[in-house]
């Protein structure tokens, strides 16, 4: 039996370079050469740990060097059979949907309200944006103090005769998740507002003026002119909010530790606990992989949906 061997070679690999100088960078290769150091760094710091993390999702790695065993899909099966993990998954989705929707609406409302000629607009914008500048853990500790059963919030409510509104905000499992959601929205709505303000400033004033001349009311101009033209800003704001809320960790961990019970646990929180408290790094990495897939899927769906509403200016 004989085999034909193709010996043809590409002129590109054997002939002279377009510049005629072998070994010299072509103009088209310069950007790649410039990117190389950054890529090497990125590969070392991000790609390699990420790849190895994905591998460990299929093992029983305990964080110690010896004795890691391949367990196939067992870690993933556990995520969907474990009551605590399912609860965390549900909490993460509740947080993601509610924070994304409410924060977007609040941010939009703030932006519309402050996209005016008010003298105090810059002060107000700063006030609303300020919480977003603070580290989430600082915000969490601040609110933990405010929300204790005998804390300032309940004291004020009782002082106003609104005793029925005084609650164990972080100690009541039916309330704690919504309390955390409220704090997250309080902190981050200002960021969404800034994105929308940037979007509003990009809308040509002539469009609103024309609509006004045609007799459109403020509400009609907002609904039919401004909001449709804010779809790109909405895409950015909602995408950022969705991703950060799906990954929510800091505020939950600092305010409730995932409790009471499992009431506020998110995927990020149990990912942390499984790794650093229980030493189950393999299982924790599997949770990270699932979380990543969820983030990816939600983001793609959201981007696709918002693109349908996009308009040409």
């Amino acid at each position: 039996m004989t085999s034909a061997v193709t010996t043809a070679t590409s002129p590109r690999t054997t002939g002279p370079t377009p510049s005629g100088r072998k070994g010299r960078l072509t103009p088209g290769g310069v950007p790649y050469a410039l990117l190389l150091p950054a890529f090497v760094l990125y590969a070392m710091v991000v790609l390699y740990p990420t790849l190895s993390g994905a591998v460990y999702a299929f093992t029983d790695w305990t964080g110690r060097a010896d004795g890691t065993k391949f367990v196939g899909w067992a870690n993933f099966a556990e995520i969907f059979s474990d009551v605590a993990a399912r609860s965390a998954l549900r909490n993460s989705l509740v947080i993601a949907v509610s924070v994304t929707v409410v924060q977007t609406l609040v941010g939009l409302a703030l932006a519309l309200a402050l996209h005016t000629s008010l003298v105090t607009r810059n002060v107000l914008r700063t006030l609303f944006f300020a919480p977003a500048l603070l580290p989430p853990v600082i915000i969490a500790f601040l609110w933990t103090f405010i929300l204790t059963p005998q804390g300032p919030l309940n004291t004020v409510l009782r002082g106003l005769g609104l005793d029925f509104l005084a609650q164990n905000w972080l100690g009541d499992s039916s309330l704690a998740l919504w309390t955390v959601i409220g704090v997250v929205i309080w902190q981050s709505a200002g960021l969404t507002m800034v994105i929308y303000l940037a979007g509003l400033q990009g809308i040509p004033t002539e469009l609103n003026e024309s609509a006004a001349l045609d007799g459109a009311s403020w509400w009609q101009r907002t609904r039919l002119v401004t909001v449709p033209l804010l779809i790109p800003a909405t895409t950015v704001a909602m995408s950022l909010t969705l991703i950060s809320s799906l990954k929510l960790f800091d505020q939950v961990f600092a305010m409730t530790g995932g409790g009471p019970g499992y009431a506020t646990e998110t995927l990020s929180v149990i990912m942390y606990k499984e790794a650093f408290v229980s030493g189950r790094f393999g299982y924790s990495t599997a949770i990270a992989l699932v979380l990543t897939m969820i983030v990816f899927a939600f983001t793609m769906v959201q981007l696709g949906a918002l693109r349908r509403f996009d308009v040409d200016r």
Partner: protein, 445 residues
């Protein structure tokens, strides 16, 4: 219990790497780039020597251990010529970082480990996994009492040095007790009477903060279990490990949680305890809002900080669990140091332990922290804060924390987290015990 080590092991292959590649972009998006140890408490560095006569020993200590060892650092260096490079962090942070440091080869020469099998960085777990140096031949090993030895040894080998012992105590506000004419309770019935008197005075009887990790819940369990379960039956752990009984089957465990909930149901705990932080609970005691609280004696200095009169404002007692005052046992816990099996300066680390084991140094350490001596070397504690409970220690009326010989840390973690649900009446005692049994059955990792 022998750890699971005999199954075939997996080495990540090219196929697995390719499989992982499918998810790397998404992982990057979520910012989950693997586990990176950013703790700087790592290895001993290039300057480390190799013997007790010089070099540097790196030490990764809890903040309490650092406080206790501080007066001994210079004398040790002067005595041995070995420098100490100490990094100190809070115990929860340490427990979370140490496994990673050991895995990555950046662990210090000497570090704190938990007792028994109570966490994934406990003496039993790390010792049986080959991460710790065998210290059986050290002179001080003969001075470890039997209770502590059960938590420091694996298969007859000593892997941990008890630098001190903590105890679980009930601290009370002296001014409040004086004002109401209350005597320290010595039985469960007396405890309930005192609680009622405090409640009737408009105070919180026992300040209790369960927000965050609910770590204070475990203290009540260990106190009650010590007297109700481990006192009458010192072999309980062996029986549970042999499968002869369990949390569910042993009636004493139900009694423990029943009594804990009795305190809640009678309104003796802080209102809304699930939303109250342990710090806030401590402040309530210090300011007289509450009359009592449970804590470890190593937590007393922090309590004193909240009071204008400091240590003089408080006293402590062994919390009763039954109506026979003489049967009350006080839970105590060894605070361990262990030597890294891959230590850069193992001789220096051993020299440090030998130095700490000298009776005078055991005393210095214990008095600095108001804790009990770790070794049975005749060291005397002269800290007045401990006087009320020292008779129990002298009489041997102590017991280990219940969780130390549970086979893994997840049993305790489940107890803490599901215990919050129990406190909120979302699950029953039977539910909780069944969950703990399930974690117990998983054995040692």
């Amino acid at each position: 219990m022998s750890p699971i080590t005999s199954e075939p092991r997996f080495t990540p292959s090219r196929r697995a790497l390719l499989l992982g590649g499918a998810g790397f972009g998404a992982l990057t998006l979520a910012g989950c780039g693997g586990f990176v140890n950013d703790d700087d408490g790592g290895g001993s560095g290039a300057e480390s020597g190799s013997g007790a006569g010089g070099g540097t020993v790196s030490a990764y200590l809890s903040t309490e251990q650092n406080t206790g060892i501080e007066p001994l650092v210079e004398p040790f260096t002067a005595d041995s010529g070995v420098e100490l490079d100490i990094t100190s962090v809070a115990v929860p942070d340490m427990n979370q970082q140490l496994a990673v440091q050991l895995s990555s080869g950046t662990a210090a020469d000497i570090f704190r480990v938990s007792p028994g099998y109570s966490s994934n960085v406990a003496a039993g777990v790390l010792g049986s996994g080959g991460d710790l140096l065998d210290l059986s031949d050290a002179a001080w090993a003969a001075s470890i009492d039997d209770g502590t030895r059960a938590l420091s040894d694996v298969d007859g080998k000593t892997f941990a040095f008890p630098v001190a012992r903590n105890s679980l105590v009930l601290a009370y506000n002296l001014a409040v007790f004086d004002e109401l004419g209350l005597e320290p309770p010595t039985t469960w019935t007396e405890l309930l009477d005192v609680c009622q008197a405090l409640t009737d005075s408009g105070r919180t009887a026992i300040s209790h903060g369960l927000s965050g990790g609910a770590i204070y819940l475990q203290f009540y369990v260990y106190i009650l279990a010590g007297t109700l379960l481990y006192g009458p039956n010192p072999d309980l752990d062996a029986q549970m490990r042999a499968g002869e009984t369990s949390f569910t089957d042993e009636p004493g465990w139900t009694e423990v949680f029943t009594k804990y909930l009795e305190l809640r149901d009678k309104g003796y705990f802080t209102e809304g305890a699930l939303g109250v932080s342990p710090d806030q609970a401590m402040q309530d005691l210090a300011t007289g809002v509450a009359g009592m609280t449970v804590l470890t004696n190593s937590g007393l200095p922090a309590l004193y900080e909240y009071s204008e009169t400091g240590a003089e404002a408080f006293s402590i007692l062994a919390m009763p669990a039954g109506d026979d005052a003489e049967a009350t046992l006080m839970p105590t816990a060894p605070d361990f140091l262990a030597v890294n099996a891959a230590a850069t300066n193992p001789d220096g680390a051993r020299a440090l332990l030998e130095f700490l084991a000298e009776p005078a140094n055991v005393e210095t350490y214990a008095n600095a922290l108001a804790v009990l001596p770790g070794l049975d070397v005749g060291a005397q504690v002269d800290n007045p804060a401990l006087e009320p409970v020292l008779p129990l220690v002298d009489a041997g009326r102590t017991v280990s924390y219940a969780n130390y010989l549970w086979p893994n840390g997840d049993v305790q973690q489940t107890m803490l987290q599901s215990g919050q649900q129990l406190y909120a009446d979302e699950i029953t005692i039977a539910d909780l015990l069944a969950q703990m049994d399930a974690e117990y059955a998983k054995g040692t990792p």
